[in-house]
């Protein structure tokens, strides 16, 4: 089931949470809605669920417009951030609850509850109450409950934010596996770029209610559309340095560096820490003020004309605090952004 938004807008009393969003969530894929808190991603999810009514715009599930259809008629499964498991019901009762609403016979509902529990690998916990489960187990129950009624679309609101770091890794693989096995169109909201990158088939980056970029995870990382996307993806984050183009040469800190085929203007230069490569003949220059040894890599923190940058280099190379280094960028990988708007210059 393909899900499509057309010009979707949601205004609350004084803020526009979602601003004229049009996008397609491909059928049978896992799409991540990524953005910082307050960017409108959860609002978008709740609009999809029907818990909020849009101010303007349309929502389609396949060819059917569902904009005005109440949530219970949309055929969606929603996993809440805190799971919203009914605390007074056992795991089995929780999973069966939506089925009983559909007036399904008890035996059949029980059977499905068991299958779902098996899918998320909690079949031995059916008699427990939510309180007796760990966070990760509760998460699985919530997914099982959402899937039990065979929804057309599965929505997950910050599914991993309440789990500790170790469980998060494990659970996100689990979500990916369940999505693959069921083939259900899945949309999940997250503020964690790493989480989105690791499991999504497609990522939508939102900022201030507006979609910035819709792309494959790796594409977003390698080919960001603007400074915001570039900054938001990647850890450690991208380095940004002020620069100027003079006569088709990029001038950084009053030094001519790289040739670029663009008109004269002030720009922002972005490059990823892992692309920094120390090279005595390199075009760029920086001063090291701190060196961090992190396992097999060395992280150097430098300044270029008072702007802080980070580079990740091979730990074989010996560097010291106070050194002036020259460096190059691997595969000439760097990005130029318009100075004021942050739009990518190509």
């Amino acid at each position: 089931m393909e899900v499509r938004l057309e010009g979707l807008t949601k205004k609350f009393t004084d803020v526009v949470a979602v601003d004229n969003v049009s996008v397609v969530f491909p059928s049978g894929k896992l799409t991540g809605l990524l953005g910082p808190s307050g960017c409108g991603k959860s609002t978008t999810l709740f609009l999809l669920a029907g818990l909020y009514n849009p101010t303007e715009g349309k929502i389609f599930f396949g060819d059917e417009e569902v904009t005005e259809i109440p949530p219970e008629k949309r055929g969606i499964g929603l996993v809440f951030q805190n799971y919203a498991l009914y605390p007074h019901m056992s795991v089995e009762k929780n999973i069966m609850f939506p089925l009983e609403n559909m007036k399904m016979p008890k035996a059949e509902a029980k059977q499905i509850a068991y299958e779902m529990a098996k899918l998320v690998q909690i079949e031995e916990l059916l008699d427990r109450k939510p309180k007796q489960l760990s966070g990760g187990q509760q998460q699985r129950v919530a997914i099982a409950r959402a899937l039990a009624k065979k929804p057309r679309v599965l929505l997950l609101d910050e599914p991993l934010s309440n789990l500790d770091a170790r469980l998060r890794l494990q659970t996100r693989e689990e979500i990916k596996r369940i999505q693959r096995e069921t083939g259900i169109t899945t949309i999940f909201v997250t503020h964690d770029q790493e989480e989105a990158m690791s499991i999504s088939d497609q990522i939508i980056v939102m900022e201030k209610g507006i979609i910035n970029q819709v792309d494959l995870p790796q594409k977003l990382y390698n080919d960001p559309i603007n400074l915001f996307v570039a900054k938001f993806l990647g850890n450690p984050p991208i380095n940004v340095v002020e620069a100027e183009i003079v006569n088709k040469v990029l001038v950084v800190n009053n030094k001519k560096t790289i040739k670029v085929d663009l008109p004269n203007q002030k720009v922002k230069l972005g490059f990823r820490p892992e692309d920094v490569r120390i090279d005595p003949n390199g075009p760029l220059e920086a001063n090291i003020y701190m060196v961090e040894m992190v396992g097999r890599d060395t992280s150097i923190l430098c300044t270029i004309n008072n702007e802080k940058i980070r580079g990740i280099i091979d730990s074989e190379i010996e560097v010291n605090v106070g050194d002036n280094i020259k460096f190059d960028l691997r595969k000439q990988r760097f990005y130029l952004f318009e100075y004021n708007t942050g739009a990518r210059l190509r």
Binding site: E68, I69, P70, K73
Partner: protein, 284 residues
Amino acid sequence: MRENYKLWYYLRKSLVYFLLIFAAVLVFIPFYWMILTALKSDYAVELVPPEMFTWDLHFKNFIDAYKSTRFDLYFRNTLFVAFCSTTGTVITTVLASFAFARLEFKGRDTIFMLLLATMMIPGEMLIITNFVTIKNWQLDDTFAALILPFMTSVFYIFFLRQTFKQIPNELYLAAKVDGTSDFKYLLKIMVPIAKPTILTIIILSAIGSWNAYVWPNLVTSLSNESVKLISNGLRSSAFVDDLGRVKYNWQMAGSTIVTIPILIVFLTLKKYIIRGVSRSGIKG
């Protein structure tokens, strides 16, 4: 199709509103009937069937009803009793709650548990002996009889202790380091922080005095006007005309006079009262 969903939604909402407003009207009827009757003329009040509304409002009924009784005296008595028992309650509960919340002494938790257990006991069990005590101390027909038993409350101690316990212990330790005495700490730090809870206690205790009827009725004699409280005064007031027939408009005016002050207190300080009530349970 989609219009249907909206229609159902609005129908259901309307039904909820209709039922709630209907229930609210039912709840409000006694107040309406009380005030309406209090304002009716002597003639209108005896109409059959009675008028459900009238523009012929006789505000003078309030003055007449007030003058036909010793309401001025009852008000003064009630305010005095309310003031004394509330002040006493605040002092005793603040001190005791502080002891339970912050001080360490032998038997503290045992005593606290015992006190909590007494909240289960119906007041009627206690009233009999208290009645005997007051008689034996020859305090019947005195203000002391009306005030003394209400100068403390296990529930308020429990309630205030909860609030005190929420104040971080570091504040206490910091004060200790600065050489602040316990009493000064209680007065300068704990009491100001717990002000909302103390205000709740003051209001509920004062309302309790205002509505007290059974105990005053027991320990004061009907003929003794000098210590009579407002509820008892209202009940013993006749509101009759020269022929001895009940003047319902006066009677309702009397009820209104007793009810209105407390309603005003309630409406202005609603949030404190609701806070106290829904936190735990005391029935006024």
